[in-house]
Symmetry: D2
């Protein structure tokens, strides 16, 4: 890989791994085509103990956003409160009172899925469409997140790279340092270390734990939003394509390693996997409780439901992923 | 039931069916205590064909809200679009472009769960707490929706009362008229008509289809938000308590029948089931595709994941419920 | 005027009345070039009695917006209230308490100025720029409303066409019916009826009262936002250009008559006066109290300050115009 | 002044300087009672050259807010852009295109007036009302900013304390260091230094320049929002009351000196002047251009219009103040 020439490397990977046309010219769901009914039946069989884990961070003003591209943390305000109800100012009969609330938030502010309209390569969106034919000021009229509202439930696999390859200095099980580029070899080594329940294949939903989120719980957010982070190497594009996974999510802001691996670059792996593979990428997930359970029982596969809120035309959306073992 | 005396009837039902203290003075999750690991194992066994259904309405400006108590429809705006990417104005290197977006919405604007801090009875919230000790302008500091972020996955049962008791004049399977009060007898008759897969018991998540949502798809929203609607009768409070269900959701704005059954009233069943039973109530769900499938195969039970977005301190939250059969 | 051929008529008016290039190729403030220091001195001399009038409607959820192009009414929510302060939950020392609040609103939701980036003609903005070179998803980078933050204070003239030409059936002084197209002749007749203090010339800020706002105060908003309304005729483009006014505002949603005067049209006068004249257009102003005063003392000129909130890059902005006589 | 006993000092100042009852038990406008018609006539006479200055900071994401009490910077997003218009996706006839936008912002995020419902003393608001009787989740139902929508236009006086008492190391005219407490003596010394046009009396609107805003323009916002700052000393409460001014504004986040002068305190001067004097306080104003002009011509008085956007029930509101000399 030539660190000084991202354009060529990106074009090469795009050409090598593209799924454009694979599911027809009209396709709008990309790798979710791989998550079929049989896969769901297989996934549901993984519920053995009935324990459930939310993989969502909390949505609130205490989040990591610092304003990059006008991304704020969620602002949650009340329309009515218990204090109003107690004071009797709500105007309802027979003693009923209520509380009600509002949120204003970027759809990428916290735990989320990137939609296929989130990233473009040279003005081209997933499946060879012009970016401006897909996403205008009215939103994503083609691959809006609502098109996958009912699909993302299947077999999940945790690849706890932080635990497999990182040091455990703080009782979190292990964390990768910022800037650590997770390669295909690292992914395979993690699978090998974890054992057969972590085999990854077509239609799977892969959750990668780097441990960076654990670090923020101990040390504060710091530069979690956009700063240095462990994450997938640009060179994993082929691994992701060959495994034919349906989606992948990490516990970091941006899925791929930061600083990015080219001298001058911004999220080059996104530029390959979203518009060319049509891959669903999740970010800012919170896998720690699940990871501890997987480490304890040695089972790294589970039933995963990760249904985004179907904001019409959204290029990504908040999600509260639920893993059940 | 004395239509002219809601205060007495509400107090009577509250006293008769209260779960206050049942799970300890510190309990914050109410009837979700009934949805345990065994129930999840049982629920997951219901995934047989691997077909998945989103029970969420779309979140957008075309929704039903009309401003009551400042509830708007979601406003979704773009921070960046494909047109900007094509035009090359985003300032990114090597041809990457992106789209990003923001939403501002009431947490009760569309498909949602009511949290336990959403409704009070005479200034008292769930488990005997003062309303103002629970929900201030900072949000619900006790029973905020984040407290149940990982819990709501279990056995779902569809009670398609619209189909069982309503007329099918429009090919939707059947719809109840606005103002139709669904009683315990109606619920039991629906279960009987649907057969044994619709038995309802402890820890279940019950989805009631009235058919009103089908009607809005044909005729427009009209007064869906707060107007006349079919829904549960005030008299079902005992049925809900005795079945010990974990949650219930309907395809209507407000779960209970409207106009309410007392001469002067506002959501009296809420006033009993939320602060006294600690029951989780879902509203504005979209069960039609699932209902058609259940009618077709005769199986009315399924695996249901309905994980609210964990907005810290929220008294309710958007959810994209996923049913898998 | 050929009602069936808006394209030709618009092109003709645009060519005839354009100010493109008049103040240089780099100009971004259009007709506000005409509001100079001398004009301000003249305007300030009109303060004789010291009485002040706000010409702003209230900004709140009870406004006229109905969702057209995602325009809602303002949603005002509290971050802290007096109830919280009384309850002592704010965490401040020595008894201080506070209230704080948030608003989410379209910049065109209520009393506002249209910026020069608000309207385009065939992809062209004011002064011959490409629309996409002016307004991207990052806002108006050229003629954003902040460029005129300090300019709009000068001589105001009220043309109370409603009072001069309308019937006064309700004690409001007179109202024009919806659909009434105010022509140059009507404007001149109003000036003649009102007398010499209403002479209109270069650099003036003209406030036109149709009386429609008075009607909404009596009858409710109805279709005020985008429905039928009295307003300026397309044929006034020449009058507006020849008078060389600095700005014009009306008490209606959209300044020009609605339905528009062509068979198939949408705001054709906007299409001429904003991108071609560079004229500042105000909408949804509330001139009734001022108008009553002017009718009483016969003086229709005043000192007007109408300073938009300088939201960077905005294509229009809320304003609380203050007239002082 | 006993630095260790804010409660006693605040109570003493409140008792000594209160305007409660002065304008009747029903009064809701406090010191704006002092800004009468005669004062406006006097103020308008100050327009001699016709030069106008906006005293507003820009409202955008690049502002100083950092999230304290959920205060964000304004988020400005587009509903439609010039790129959409050029692309022809807006659906309008005859070549018209448009841009439209939305803002979400705290009402105290940038240049603003504090309303009288913004601060309480031991649960009491202006004019002896209970805080919870004034401001609930529905907003300020008594002293909402709309009650003063048309009033704030009068004689403005700049007290450029930064220039009079600070050092001019950076060509800004002079800046006070953070933590500098401006006393009555400092205010009087500034008036003396500036000359007779800066005399301050009943009904005046006083703008105090500390120079901190100049510093942020050079060095970045830093901790402007809530951090250390020059500002009025707690001991100026009497000066403010005795001069009987109608309002006062500064170029800092919080009007009074920070850190506050008591050992443990939060904005003690607010606690006296808002709920007890009923004084209108402006914050985050941008007086630098005006100040340079005043320094140049030696005239420190002007005509000032500072009309807040009348968000119904707001406890403060954005304003674009316009000074004309």
């Amino acid at each position: 890989m030539d660190r000084s020439d991202p354009a060529t490397e990106i074009a090469r990977a795009a050409a090598a791994y593209s799924n454009a046309g694979r599911w027809g010219a009209d396709d709008v769901i990309g790798t979710l085509n791989l998550l079929d009914a049989a896969k769901r039946v297989e996934g549901a069989r993984l519920v053995r103990r009935g324990v459930a884990f939310s993989l969502s961070q909390r949505f609130d003003m205490e989040g990591p956003q610092k304003g990059w591209r006008r991304r704020t943390n969620p602002v949650h305000t009340m329309l009515d409160t218990g204090l109003d109800a107690e004071r009797g100012v709500q105007g309802f009969p027979h003693g009923i009172g209520g509380a009600d609330d509002v949120v204003a938030m970027p759809l990428q502010c916290s735990t989320q899925w990137d939609g296929l309209g989130h990233i473009f390569d040279h003005g081209t969106a997933y499946n060879g469409r012009r970016a401006g034919d897909v996403v205008t000021s009215l939103g994503d009229g083609v691959t809006g997140i609502e098109t996958v509202a009912g699909l993302i439930a299947g077999r999940g696999v945790l690849l706890d790279v932080g635990r497999a390859l990182g040091e455990d200095l703080h009782g979190t099980g292990g964390e990768l340092p910022d800037g650590f580029a997770i390669t295909a070899e690292h992914l395979d080594a993690t699978i090998a270390a974890q054992g057969p329940t972590s085999a990854v294949g077509p239609g799977d939903l892969v959750v990668v734990r780097t441990g960076q989120y654990s670090r923020t719980r101990r040390e504060g957010w710091g530069d979690y939003a956009g700063g240095a982070a462990p994450g997938l190497s640009f060179t994993t594009a082929g691994w992701l394509r060959e495994r034919d996974i349906a989606g992948i999510a990490t516990d970091t802001w941006g899925f791929e390693v930061r600083p990015n691996e080219f001298d001058v670059a911004f999220q080059p792996l996104h530029q390959v996997v979203i518009p060319h593979l049509g891959l669903f990428v999740g970010e800012m997930w919170a896998p720690d409780a699940l990871a501890a359970d997987c480490a304890a029982d040695g089972v790294h596969e589970f039933w995963l439901t990760a249904a985004p809120i179907p904001v019409t035309g959204a290029v990504g959306a908040p999600v509260n992923p639920i893993a059940v073992k």
